[in-house]
């Protein structure tokens, strides 16, 4: 898969309130494919990193397993068996990954058979780079609880990254590129030294413009992230729970 295969605003899962869980069960093949692509886009990276750390599989094997997992989702219709009332989608997928890796041989055979993976770019090199960086310490995530937390954190990272990309596209579409640059500089770079005042000087605009631009970008980011999340949940109750977990509202 190449960078060109990355889902763009145009071929994104339609921004309806419909969940991917319902959509993958649809009789409409196109809707099914888009739903699976949305699911894959949000989950492939957390799953890949999880296989690398939890199952200590080499990069190449983890790549095969990640792709194999999404094929299994399709072939074995695993999402059909998911019951939103009983568990979270995130937990269900993680358990499915565990089960699949334990039966890795079968998965490898399935991999050889080939199949139709959703059109989502899986940038394994980028994921590997993130794994090798200072962002996480594999030694610190040995227990099952910490693995669960790790998977959740990576899933949130993936969800937010997708929302940021959507925001970038939205800014471009509305000719608000500067707004995104301000948002990027203040909220994404994580540089404590950047202030509204500094940004106003850098861009030669009044400080109120910076304030308004950031307020707009955050508002849109929140909206997009919640929309993305809603798509990835099987029920309203799950959405409420996951939103609180994703945004850290439970722990604050």
């Amino acid at each position: 898969m190449s960078q060109e295969d990355l889902p763009s605003a145009g071929d994104r899962f339609p921004p309806t309130r419909r969940s991917v869980i319902e959509a993958v069960r649809s009789i409409d093949a196109e809707e099914r494919e888009l739903a699976l692509a949305a699911l894959c886009a949000a989950y492939w990276k957390p799953i890949y990193k999880y296989i690398r750390l939890r199952w200590k599989r080499p990069a190449e094997e983890a790549q095969d397993l990640t792709q194999g997992f999404f094929l299994e989702l399709l072939e074995r219709e695993l999402l059909e068996k998911f019951e939103p009332a009983k568990s979270r989608l995130r937990t269900y997928l993680r358990v499915c990954v565990d089960s699949m890796v334990m039966n890795a041989e079968k998965a490898a055979k399935r991999q050889k058979r080939g199949g139709n993976l959703p059109h989502v770019a899986l940038d394994f090199a980028g994921a590997e780079e993130e794994l090798g960086g200072a962002v996480m310490d594999p030694a610190a995530i040995a227990s099952p609880d910490s693995l669960e937390q790790f998977f959740e954190k990576e899933w949130v990272r993936s969800l937010f990254a997708l929302a940021v990309e959507d925001l970038r596209e939205l800014c471009a579409a509305r000719e608000r590129e500067r707004t995104f640059l301000l948002f990027e500089a203040y909220d994404l770079e994580g540089n404590e030294k950047v202030s509204y005042d500094q940004l106003a000087k850098d861009y030669g605009i009044p400080i109120t413009d910076v304030t308004n631009a950031l307020a707009w970008a955050r508002r849109e980011f929140r909206k997009i992230a919640l929309e993305r999340l809603r798509e990835l949940c099987g029920s309203e109750e799950e959405f409420q729970r996951e939103a609180r977990a994703a945004f850290g509202w439970d722990s604050k």
Partner: protein, 345 residues
């Protein structure tokens, strides 16, 4: 796709959480607490230059139910003008689409934290009576709280007691309201002839929760509420919570809010708690006022309705109530005897 560092994740979480107050007259100060469906912030009302508490929804529901609940909570509070109920100033929608309302910023302590400073049982009972006063007032206006617990009671620096968090409130209405103009919020929501049990013809509405929805706090929630039997809730459900609250106040231990736990409590008080927390609705106090009356009678050294006293208990209570006079008379009699003995020597 850009990799987001842990720091960026935290900033994005903050960016998504903090309410967008642009275009309002409020300035965000700090986060104060989080409730079941929203977060409470301290904010400054820049027009009036005063501190207010701003409650805002965190996650929007897809059907707008949570937003409706928050608006309804604000409206319930706005109509319950009572010194024991926090007053609401404003309600609206923020730029980010979230519903909010502002209310008086209460400086004080939650009851479960404040209770440690109260040594005597009478002091604790007086606090309890003030809670009953506010809840009884709400019942008289056709509103059930449904989530009475120590964490939802605030005690101010001057001992004022405020019943907080009406997010699970259930609104009842009487026959009269059903016949009135549906466009009038007062009529459709607040007209309630009688919410006491046994009153025929009452219809109940709740736009907050439907039948089968379990909302409340275990330990303080009545059995019918725990079953999700929303249609049959009345004042006695709050009375159950008040009974658990009274038990907590007297035992000073959240774990002892439930009946059946072993600890020493005077029989009359135990009887009040037991009657209030009876499993069967018909065995509970019918109104908050009757429960409060029993507590007041106990404070005044009188017999309580919930407990049938033995002769010994009656005597002991009589002694406690008139101890001063009894001791005075006894001292007088002893003096008389001593004087007589002295004169006959």
């Amino acid at each position: 796709m850009k990799f987001l560092s842990d720091r960026a994740l935290e900033r994005l979480r903050d960016a998504a959480e903090l309410p967008d107050l642009s275009g309002t007259r409020y300035r965000l100060l700090e986060r104060v607490a989080r409730g079941g469906m929203g977060v409470v912030y301290a904010a400054e009302d820049e027009n009036l230059q005063r501190r207010v508490a701003l409650k805002v929804l965190d996650v929007p529901g897809s059907d707008g139910e949570l937003a409706s609940r928050l608006v309804l909570e604000a409206r319930v509070l706005a109509r319950l003008e009572h010194p024991g109920i926090v007053p609401v100033h404003d309600v609206g929608t923020l730029g980010d689409g979230r519903v909010f309302y502002t209310m008086k910023f209460v400086e004080g302590q939650r009851l479960d934290r404040y209770i440690g400073t109260l040594e005597s049982v009478p002091d604790r009972l007086r606090i309890f009576l003030r809670i009953c006063d506010a809840v009884g007032f709400a019942h008289a206006r056709g509103v059930l709280h449904r989530d009475l617990k120590p964490a939802n009671i605030m005690v101010g620096p001057f001992g004022e007691v405020l019943v907080m968090d009406w997010g699970l409130a259930k609104i009842l209405r009487g026959k009269a309201a059903a016949d009135s103009n549906p466009g009038d919020p007062d009529a459709t929501i607040f007209k309630k002839d009688n919410l006491h049990p046994g009153h025929d013809g009452d219809t109940e509405i709740s736009v907050i929760t439907g039948h089968g929805t379990v909302l409340g706090t275990p330990g303080y929630m009545s059995p019918e509420q725990a079953r999700g039997d929303v249609e049959h809730l009345d004042a006695r459900s709050d009375i159950f919570s008040l009974g658990a609250l009274l038990r907590f106040l007297l035992s000073n231990d959240p774990g002892k809010a439930h009946a059946g736990k072993k600890y020493r409590l005077e029989k009359s008080l135990e009887a009040i708690c037991s009657k209030a927390t009876a499993t069967a609705l018909e065995n509970r106090y019918p109104t908050v006022q009757e429960m409060a009356l029993d507590v007041s009678r106990y404070l005044d050294g009188l017999a309580v309705g919930a407990h049938r006293e033995s002769f010994l208990e009656k005597t002991a209570r009589f002694y406690r109530r008139y101890r001063f006079f009894i001791l005075l008379i006894a001292a007088y009699l002893v003096m008389r005897v001593l004087i007589l003995l002295f004169l006959h020597r």
